[in-house]
């Protein structure tokens, strides 16, 4: 089946395109890109709605799908449905499932399930260590053969410098990045919020910024020692960013991602009407405004490679408790693109071109997965956004099984119009005028 996306504004940095182009999809591949492509026979012509922007599919390189083991929080079906609604054509899922994804059997189970019910592509991330216990390496070659694209003990840091060295050396053999949740455990202690004046006045135990930067610096040193690629997950502090910036200048193979909540919110929100809101509890915690400002600068200059959500679903009951007892994490798949458009693009921090790099080009490059461009021959994974459309976040309508978002009720400028995976439309936002032409959404399988 051929589909011609007609008359849209295409932003494709890898092809150097930022202008009106038609995109011809043939089955699950891109067939042609050009101005005024002629529709031949058997071509479905789709008029891209006025004001919409066609982008290579967005990839969220950091999500928690919770399946297997915690299907009350999220499943592969609901998590990928949320991803589709959020404009993501693929997600990379972290291994802290139950059981941990530290074996080919678990990886295959996730991929099999994703093949049956997944609305978007799923790239499993395997564990660095067996059981994520931080002791000995998981069977990384096996994990890779089964389909893992990276390794991480996310939720926890890679426990020791020695294990991190071994992981970098071993995973480096396959060109797989090691993704680290940078947190020095003894400094972080039992912390539940960013260590600073706000947490001090609220009587909340603090996680100092240095707990992140000290491990980021360790990882950078080990990446230099081994020559392997390290990726810093959910970077949240100006201190760690300073380390990454200096390392990149030296040519170190380090990359990093930030979450929307870390570039939108600061720990100031923990006071006032939303004080002790457990939907503001995540790890790393919301940092100070100076950290937020540094992250905005890093997004602008390119020190930061990717935007990832750290989508972490938890049931309402689990969050309806005392702040220090609540689990860390918030959902983010369905708000990331709107927050990025509203705060970064309309906020004058980055261009649409840079946004596509952060959400598509770089995640694909870091994970070595196909995509990041709509060059002919590449996967027909397309995200169509409506930068000017207003949305009001309503978590009660979320596709996720969980509702733990601090952005409920927020009015944002910028929406996802449609998501196309392997040539099939998997999501259409009917609130965007003209978007009906992009649908109807069909099951991917």
């Amino acid at each position: 089946m051929k589909r011609l996306l007609k008359g849209g504004h295409l932003v494709d940095p890898l092809q150097g395109i930022d202008g009106v182009r038609d995109v011809l999809l043939d089955g699950d591949r891109v067939a042609a890109v050009g101005q005024d492509l002629q529709a031949g026979q058997d071509v479905e012509v789709i008029a891209v709605p006025q004001g919409c922007v066609v982008c290579p599919g967005f990839v969220d390189m950091h999500v928690h799908l919770r399946e297997p083991g915690q299907e009350h929080k999220e499943t592969i079906a609901t998590g990928t449905a949320a991803a589709a609604a959020g404009g993501f054509t693929a997600v990379a899922c972290m291994p802290n499932t139950r059981p941990v994804n530290d074996s080919a059997a678990v990886t295959r189970a996730i991929l099999e399930r994703a093949g049956l019910v997944g609305a978007v592509r799923v790239y499993p991330i395997g564990a660095v260590s067996k059981g994520m216990k931080g002791e000995s390496l998981a069977e990384i070659a096996d994990l890779r053969a089964a389909g893992c694209v990276a390794v991480s003990d996310d939720g926890k840091p890679v426990s020791t410098a020695l294990l991190m060295r071994r992981a970098l050396e071993y995973a480096g053999m396959f060109g797989m990045p090691v993704i680290d949740h940078c947190e020095e455990s003894t400094l972080a202690g039992e912390g539940v919020a960013h260590e600073g004046y706000i947490a001090s006045m609220l009587g909340l135990r603090g996680i100092p910024a240095t707990a992140e930067s000290i491990v980021a610096e360790r990882d950078i040193a080990l990446a230099e020692m081994t020559g392997s690629a390290v990726h810093i997950a959910h970077l949240s502090t100006r201190l760690a960013l300073r380390g990454v910036s200096a390392a990149k200048a030296r040519g170190t193979t380090v990359t990093c991602e930030v979450t929307p909540h870390h570039f939108v919110l600061s720990d100031q929100r923990l006071t006032g009407p939303t004080s002790y809101d457990t939907n503001l509890k995540m790890n790393p915690p919301l940092r100070e405004q100076t950290d937020v400002d540094a992250i905005l600068q890093g997004l602008k200059t390119g020190t930061i490679d990717a935007i990832a959500t750290d989508h972490a679903p938890h049931q309402a009951d689990e969050k309806h408790v005392e702040f220090d007892r609540a689990p860390f994490g918030i959902i983010g798949l369905e708000t990331a693109v709107s927050l990025t458009l509203d705060r970064l693009v309309h906020g004058g921090v980055i261009t649409l071109r840079r946004m596509v790099q952060l959400l598509s080009v770089n995640p694909c490059r870091i994970l070595n997965v196909p995509g990041g461009t709509l060059r002919p021959g590449y996967p027909a994974d397309v995200t169509i956004i409506a930068p000017a459309a207003m949305v009001t976040v309503d978590v009660s309508k979320s596709r996720s099984l969980s509702r733990n978002s601090p952005f409920d009720g927020w009015a944002l400028r910028g929406a996802v119009a449609a998501t196309i995976v392997a040539g099939r439309t998997v999501f259409v936002n009917h609130e965007v005028p003209g978007a009906a032409a992009l649908g109807p959404a069909v099951a991917r399988a």
């Binding site: 260590e195 947490a199 009587g203």
Partner: protein, 336 residues
């Protein structure tokens, strides 16, 4: 139960012996979760009301009917003797029906959530909940999900507002004011809810607050917040009008915050020598329970400047004032 018949004074709290009327005013919210939420006017109202309440405790029959028919539940998820007793006496002197629930006897040990525990209690229509809990912010959480008023009797390391109010009452009683006084607060600043409430209250009321403790027990960000922070007891105490000592818990030593209790006392303990640097009429205060020979020497604790037992006595009056104001007492009288 007929204590009030000896002196039928529903308006008694409003008519203290000196004849000055309680300001016809009330607290804005249904709860007292922290000093942070109180205005200067509300703090003043509570302190003025407590003055009237204190007189009641000096009567031969220490009871007025202000809270007759009101149910107050003292919900203590953390051990407490002083604060719970103080609240209970305050409630009884106002004729409230009171009920004490301690965590060890509650459903919490059976795995029930805090929200469920409190919803169950609320189903029995209490008017006020006095809550102590080990989690910071738990009273904010409860105030949002409860119809009844919530009084914070200490939440984790966050606030202990009634303690700060009774401390302020005690200072004001002796010094006639709070504004312009130098108040030193010494000890475990990091883990102290008493510190946070006092810092907020004294700052709002215009006092000059000095914090003193080992650097390992100074909360992050305090030094940059504009308040004086020092690790020199001498500097903190110099010319002070009041010195508040904070309790040092043995666990803190085990947690590695300082090497030994002996060394702590040598460096930070409040001794007669150090007190001499303060004003001649300095007030020595402690929220209790005290560790004699750790944060304070016995001769200071029992010495002429000590107002530690006054604090305990004033605690009842201040808590009566808060219970009275939050139960809508002033409002009822306004229409009576």
């Amino acid at each position: 139960m007929n204590a009030d018949t000896t002196r039928p004074t529903p308006a008694a709290p409003a008519s203290p012996s000196d004849g000055s009327p309680i300001p016809a005013n009330r607290l804005r919210g249904k709860d007292l979760v922290g000093i942070a939420e109180l205005s200067v006017e509300e703090i003043t109202l509570i302190l003025d009301t407590a003055l009237a309440m204190k007189e009641i405790s000096s009567r031969p029959i220490k009871k007025v009917p202000a809270l007759r028919g009101k149910t107050v539940v003292n919900l203590f998820f953390e051990a407490s003797t002083r604060t719970r007793t103080s609240f209970e006496i305050a409630e009884k002197r106002l004729s409230a029906d009171t009920l004490n629930i301690a965590a060890s006897t509650s459903s919490v040990v059976k795995g029930e959530t805090l929200a469920d525990t409190v919803h169950n209690i609320e189903a029995m229509s209490p008017d006020l909940l006095v809550v102590r809990h080990s989690s910071s912010g738990s009273c904010h959480f409860l105030s949002r999900i409860c119809r009844a008023g919530v009084i914070n009797a200490g939440d984790g390391m966050h606030e202990h507002p009634t303690q700060a109010l009774l401390d302020a009452f005690t200072i004001r009683e002796r010094k006639g004011r709070l504004a312009g006084l130098k108040v030193a607060i010494c000890g475990d600043l990091l883990h102290s809810r008493v510190l946070r409430s006092n810092l907020l209250l004294l700052t709002k009321m215009g006092a000059d607050v000095w914090l003193c403790g080992p650097p390992t027990l100074i909360p992050a960000g305090f030094a940059q917040s504009g308040v004086h922070v020092t690790s020199s007891v001498d500097e903190a105490v110099e010319g002070a009008d009041a010195v508040m000592m904070l309790r040092i818990q043995l666990e803190r030593m085990l947690g590695g915050f300082f090497p030994s209790l002996r060394e702590y006392f040598n460096v930070f303990g409040m001794t007669q020598d150090r007190v001499r640097r303060a004003k001649p009429d300095v007030l020595i205060m402690h929220p209790g329970p005290m560790n004699r020979g750790v944060e304070i020497s016995s001769d200071v604790a029992d010495g002429p400047y000590s107002v530690i037992l006054d604090q305990v006595a004033n605690g009842v009056a201040v808590r009566m004032a808060i219970l009275y104001l939050l139960s809508g007492g002033a409002e009822h009288e306004a229409v009576a």
